[in-house]
Amino acid sequence: MANGTALEAKNLELWYGGFQALRDVSLAVPQKRITAIIGSSGCGKSSLLRCFNRMNDLIRGCKVKGEVSFAGKNIYAADADPTDIRFRIGMVFQKPNPFPKSIFDNVAFGPRVNGLTDNLEETVDRALHRAALWDEVKDRLHNSALELSGGQQQRLCIARALALEPEVILMDEPCSALDPQATLKVEDLMGVLAEDYTIVIVTHNMQQAARVSHMTAFMNMAEDRAGVLVEYGPTPQIFTTPKNKSTEDYVSGRFG
């Protein structure tokens, strides 16, 4: 692949107290591409995603070993600043979670908190355009975000992440609460965003991974142990000729 590496996990291990959730995971996420992480519930895919911007730090008893390198630095190094990392690596969650504020204020929230208030209107406009939401909300920017449909709320959350001009956007099952049409809109949007951003998506929907991603990582419970990366490769390969038998079984619905 011509693109460089945006993020790279190296021998990553993660524990929640005594429970090990990731085991020796190494993978390189290519820049300006969509990387999907698939696997059955409890396999560690969301844990891996959250490692990419240190969201797991917020969980009590969480311990990480190994490295995640981003822009040439280990984000788990002692001198790394988690706030700066989350600034540059945004996240969109499963359930749309707009703040009970206006549409404008939701998008402006990040820039304001970070003191980036110059050209705020322009920043908000741009983020809403990029999130393919502008046309639907331009006449009601100061209405409550909670009036929006689920699909619109999710694109608002994407706009909120984009307002900080991140380099990477992590998406944790961003469409699981959306109807099929809203899902396809978000998928189309991901395709457009991948021209400028690196996207990592965790999804339960294998067909979604097949449709939207360039690279697919399959995680599995090996011998009842969670958190093993079984296979990682170009999406067309994973969905036509997976190398590993358990990948084959999982993507073709023979277990899971």
Binding site: F239, T240, T241, E248, V251, S252, G253, R254
Partner: protein, 216 residues
């Protein structure tokens, strides 16, 4: 999980084997009809072609339903792609047997001067039926090495075909022109049956390896 879907895949897979056996039988029957100038047997081959055509249509429809409703991936997807290609080859092979049957009904190929090449035609017929049988076995067992061997065995068929044409050209006498032309067509059809068997083997190899080169 997805048991109904996987049962349907298995059933389709077996249906291809069944259809392959039908076509193989047609090729064997038409060779016998040719050697024994049995026009009734030739008619049986012609009648049987409809069964093959119906089986193709049925298999193709079922594959399309699976593609539309089940979004198969990995080995399941390769199975459907391979089947869609294989039924085309089997259908074409059935047509070739049909064409030979028509020629058998036009001519009994028993003129004394044509006699010397009859043995060669019989050998070609047996070799093409045998190659087809092996191709179907390779599919039934998904045996890649058996499939890979087919191309080599097809060379023998090509040699027999070349030899047949050479001997037909050497035939003298105006009365032989008609039978010789028809036998040349028979030879060509049998040789093509061999090519389709090799194609079948390639689809088996595609299914097993995922290498798209075997789809060409």
């Amino acid at each position: 999980m997805r048991e109904a879907f996987h049962k349907e895949l298995e059933s389709l897979d077996q249906e291809v084997v069944r259809m392959g056996a039908l076509v193989e039988q047609s090729v064997q029957m038409v060779t016998t009809a040719l050697m024994e100038a049995d026009k009734d047997l030739a008619q049986k081959v012609r009648d049987g072609d409809q069964q093959v055509d119906e089986a193709v249509l049925d298999i193709e429809k079922r594959c399309l339903i699976i593609l539309a409703q089940q979004a198969p991936v990995a080995g399941d997807l390769r199975l459907i792609v391979a089947i869609l290609r294989i039924v085309g080859d089997l259908e074409r092979t059935g047509d070739l047997a049909y064409n030979i049957a028509k020629l058998v009904q036009l001519d009994d190929f028993r003129e004394p001067s044509v006699k010397p090449v009859r043995g060669l035609v019989a050998e070609l017929g047996r070799a093409s039926a045998s190659l087809l049988g092996k191709a179907i076995d390779a599919w039934a067992t998904k045996d890649e090495s058996l499939a890979a061997d087919l191309a080599l065995q097809d060379n023998k068929l090509d040699e027999l075909h070349t030899e047949l044409i050479r001997r037909l050209i050497d035939l003298d006498g105006e009365e032989n022109i008609g039978p010789a032309l028809r036998l040349a067509m028979v030879g060509r059809y049998l040789e093509r049956i061999g090519d389709h068997a090799v194609n079948l083997g390639d689809r088996v190899r595609y299914f097993v390896t995922g290498d798209a080169e075997f789809l060409t």
